[in-house]
């Protein structure tokens, strides 16, 4: 059976949200809210209530990046100090904790940040091709509700879209 991508572009955001709400309430049998991809020009924290909490592992990346940074930082500094033989200075110990704390802290943040960014890039699937149904209007002021669904449900979805004053509907056969 062919699978279709259907995307409806809305200018009124609330209509788009109620469309999703209805999908969530099984307005179309066999179409789950999990199949919905929302394309929006802005961030909508509130949409999670409708779309369901899909979660993000990015903070975990931050945490592990930071822990790694701190531990690596300290060990790196300490081993450099311990192996470089001409460093007794100013009556200080060879491995000096105060300075290493400062630098480990910087390393914590640096690796935390880098790891967070990498986590984001991986999870958000950046650096991939845009979806064929991507519309430039999404970057302007319209919101797109896209679903991947069976051929039999396409028409009922379009009906639903039209009920909510959709401006434009695009579709494409999934490969």
């Amino acid at each position: 059976m062919k699978r279709y991508y259907v995307m409806g572009l809305f200018s009124n955001f609330e209509e788009a949200f109620s469309t999703i709400s209805e999908i969530r309430q099984h307005a179309i049998p066999g179409v789950s809210v999990d199949d919905v991809t929302l394309k929006s020009p802005i961030e909508h924290p509130e949409i999670e209530e409708i779309l369901g909490d899909r979660g993000s592992p990015v903070p975990k990346f931050s945490l592990f990046g930071a822990i790694f940074g701190a531990i690596f930082g300290f060990l790196f500094l300490a081993s450099a100090q311990a192996n470089f033989l001409t460093q007794p200075q100013g009556g200080k110990a060879i491995i000096t904790l105060p300075s290493n704390i400062v630098l480990s802290y910087e390393m914590l943040i640096l690796f935390g940040v880098l790891s967070t960014v990498i986590g984001f890039m991986v999870n958000a699937r950046l650096m991939t091709k845009r979806h064929p149904l991507y519309s430039e209007k999404v970057s302007l002021d319209q919101i797109g509700v896209m679903l991947e669904l069976d051929e039999k449900n396409v028409d009922s979805l379009k009906e639903l879209f039209k009920k909510h004053k959709v401006l434009e509907i695009r579709e494409e056969v999934s490969l």
Binding site: A82, N83, L85, T86, P88, I94
Partner: protein, 734 residues
């Protein structure tokens, strides 16, 4: 690998051989003097080193410093055929110490402005000529000089060079050998001679418990400063002696005094008499040592009168007398700033009177050990020689004059018009290392080798312990093949004059060998010729037999001339000498130019010292340019204001303001000697250098003074704090 077991190889690996090699591995015996940075130094293989040059090993050779007349023994460290550093000869008079002038004498040796070949005046300018041409010129202009129409004008000379010089003068039929030193103790010597019968007695600082010095800068320039500094160290140890300095401008010695007293210039004698008065009247010192005439004079100098004449408060006089009475034996000295007056001789006499009164003669002033070889003794310089020479030259008495080791064109006051008078001499020959003012006005310039390139002997004028002949040996090959030692030139001239005694000697070295060979067997202590020679060269000096001296006491006239004032010129000028530029001969040594003056901390330039009271009266601030005007001329320089100069006095250091003398000296600062008034010490005929009256005014320009250091006080920090001598004697007293 833990921290403690680093070995050399790892270290090299870490640091890179070239890099730290220079900084940390220096001194290890490898011929790696390579710095990798920018290929600054070429890598030179020691394929064929000089015989005596062991690569990487410094060898020490003894010689004698000629930077001032004291003649300290030095050890030169020679590496790879170059002399690198001088140290004091521990066995010599100066011990292991050396003053900054001695340290810097290396820069005279390596000076980039040294004369490297003979020069002759052609068409008004000095042009390089060959030695053959130089000798031809000598033959043409000088050989036929009539008897008595030639003269030598030199600095202090001694040793075998002095012998040759005397022989040469004799061959030439001239008696005129002017020995001139701008900084000298001639007045003092005259008084010593008159009173004690010994011109240079031995001063026992180590025995003295109090030293009262009237302007004798014995730590800086007076007689034999490095030796005296050593003695000073002993003087200050144990039962620490008291040092009182009376002078118009603070010298290095004054800077170390327990009590520094500013007396009006020229009234030092009065101060001495005042102190004697207190000693006799209040301190119950017995006056029987003094002749009645002296006591009569002393009685006229009551404390109040002396205070009025000299500007020294009466209680200070009492305090000084107290120290002298309490701390016996004492030692009273007089120096430059007391001597350089019309009454300089009386000032010195008054100081000597105190020694007599306090019974110091024989205690802290002992008879000198006079060497038996009179012909080798130092011919000491004075300034009367210059006055006499100026008169003779001005009168056209000479056809030929030889200059060596003195720079009268620079040091003579303007009123002598020395340059003009010298110009009247038809043929002037300068034997010189440097293009100084006198050299540049000569007709023929013969390049001298440096003291560290030549063979020579010298005898220092001040010989406190055993008499000794100091040896100079070449510490390295001459830098320039064209330079000749003084001895060699004199020997050549003697041969030229056909003096038979000297014809057999190939060079001065041969002459010296033979001359030392002919010393009495007692001197040679049974050694054969070679052994004696090498012992002498190794040690740096030869102990010579001396006649034990004795001291008599016959005090001369003490009466002081009144202190003269002059409405037009209200201030006194002190052309101060210091242990860096000295009389100007050190102005071409960059180390000394850059070394800050010991007292004012000023470098590379002249300055005029002004008392804060005078400064505020005239609205002068530090760094202001001041015009100093005497009846002989005007100089302008920057003001340094401090409480180390008498209120009525300004002091300008000697030694700068050269018109020639190489890149480091030329155009730096001013020469205070130029504006000296034509006055002399009436008794000795010495130039009265400190008797010039001046008036000062602001020029209106100001510039930051070239002075090292910010604050001149410690602002409450404990960097140097002062404890009292009582505490010192309690804790460290002998």
């Amino acid at each position: 690998m833990s921290g403690s077991d680093i070995n050399r190889r790892d270290f090299l690996k870490f640091m890179g051989l070239g890099g730290v090699g220079a900084a940390t591995l220096s001194g290890c015996d490898m011929p790696t003097t390579i710095t990798l940075e920018e290929g600054k130094e070429k890598v030179v293989a020691y394929l064929a080193p000089e015989e005596y040059a062991i690569p990487g090993i410094g060898v020490t050779f003894a010689s004698t410093c000629q930077q001032c007349p004291s003649g300290c023994g030095v050890h030169g460290r020679v590496r790879e055929g170059r002399v690198l550093k001088l140290e004091g000869n521990p066995e010599a008079l100066n011990g292991k110490g050396l003053c900054q002038m001695g340290q810097a004498s290396l820069q005279g040796h390596y000076n980039p402005d040294r004369i490297t070949q003979p020069m002759a005046r052609k068409g008004g300018a000095l042009m390089p000529v060959s030695w053959e041409d130089a000798w031809l010129l000598m033959k043409e202009k000088a050989s036929g000089t009539a008897q008595g129409r030639s003269a030598w004008f030199t600095g202090t000379v001694s040793g075998h060079q002095s012998v040759l010089l005397a022989a040469l003068n004799k061959a030439w039929g001239s008696k005129d050998h002017y020995v001139y030193e701008a900084i000298n103790n001639a007045v003092g010597s005259a008084v010593n001679e008159a009173v004690l019968g010994d011109a240079t007695p031995v001063y026992r600082f180590d025995k003295a418990k109090a030293v009262l010095s009237f302007g004798a800068d014995f730590l800086g320039t007076w007689v034999s400063p490095v030796h005296f500094s050593r003695e000073y160290g002993k003087f200050r140890s144990g039962d620490r002696g008291v040092l009182i300095q009376v002078e118009p401008k603070m010298t290095l010695t004054g800077g170390n005094a327990d009590l520094w007293v500013a007396a009006r210039p020229g009234t030092e004698g009065a101060v001495a008499l005042g102190i004697a008065n207190v000693l006799l009247s209040e301190n119950q010192v017995d006056g029987k040592q003094l002749p009645q005439a002296a006591l009569d004079v002393i009685s006229q100098y009551s404390v109040s009168k002396v205070a009025e004449i000299s500007g020294v408060p009466g209680d200070t006089l009492v305090r000084i007398a107290g120290y002298l009475k309490e701390r016996s034996p004492s030692l009273v000295l007089s120096g430059e700033s007391a001597h350089g007056h019309t009454n300089g001789y009386q000032n010195a006499m008054a100081a000597m009177m105190l020694n007599v009164l306090l019974g110091n003669i024989g205690q802290t002033i002992e008879a000198s050990n006079s060497m038996v070889f009179d012909e080798l003794k130092a011919k000491q310089g004075n300034s009367k020689a210059m006055l006499d020479f100026a008169a003779a030259a001005g009168a056209g008495e000479y056809d030929v004059v030889f200059f060596m080791g003195a720079n009268p064109v620079y040091t003579a006051p303007a009123h002598l018009a020395m340059a003009d008078k010298i110009a009247k001499v038809p043929f002037k020959v300068a034997l010189s290392m440097f293009p100084d003012e006198t050299t540049m006005s000569a007709d023929l310039v013969l390049p001298l080798s440096s003291p560290y390139e030549e063979w020579a002997t010298s005898v220092s004028p001040y010989q406190p312990k055993d008499a000794a002949i100091s040896m100079s040996q070449p510490l390295m090959k001459p830098l320039s093949v064209e330079t000749r030692s003084l001895g060699d030139i004199l020997l050549s001239m003697l041969k030229y004059q056909g003096v038979k005694d000297y014809e057999t000697f190939e060079d001065y070295y041969a002459y010296l060998r033979s001359a030392l060979d002919s010393l009495p067997a007692s001197v040679k202590a049974g050694k054969d010729s070679d052994a004696f020679w090498s012992a002498a060269v190794q040690k740096g000096f030869i102990k010579a037999p001396s006649k034990p001296g004795s001291l008599k006491v016959s005090l001369g006239e003490l009466d002081q001339g009144g202190y003269q004032t002059n409405g037009d010129y209200p201030m006194n000028l002190v052309p101060s000498s210091n242990q860096s530029m000295y009389d100007g001969r050190n102005a071409n040594l960059p180390w000394l130019q850059e070394a800050p003056d010991q007292i004012t901390k000023i470098f590379w330039d002249s300055w005029v010292e002004v008392h804060p009271k005078t400064a505020s009266k005239l609205g002068i601030k530090e760094g202001d340019f001041i015009r100093i005007e005497s009846d002989q001329g005007v100089i302008e320089t920057q003001a340094y204001i401090y409480k180390g100069v008498h209120v009525d006095t300004v002091a300008i250091p000697m030694g700068r303001g050269h018109e020639e003398y190489g890149r480091y000296a030329k155009g730096n600062g001013v020469n205070p000697l130029k504006i000296l008034s034509p006055v002399v010490d009436e008794k000795s005929g010495e130039l009265a250098t400190h008797a010039t009256r001046v008036r000062i005014s602001k020029v209106g320009r100001s510039e930051e003074l070239p002075r090292l250091g910010g604050s001149e006080v410690q602002v409450g920090r404990r960097l140097v704090s002062t404890v009292s001598a009582d505490v010192f004697r309690r804790t460290e007293g002998a």
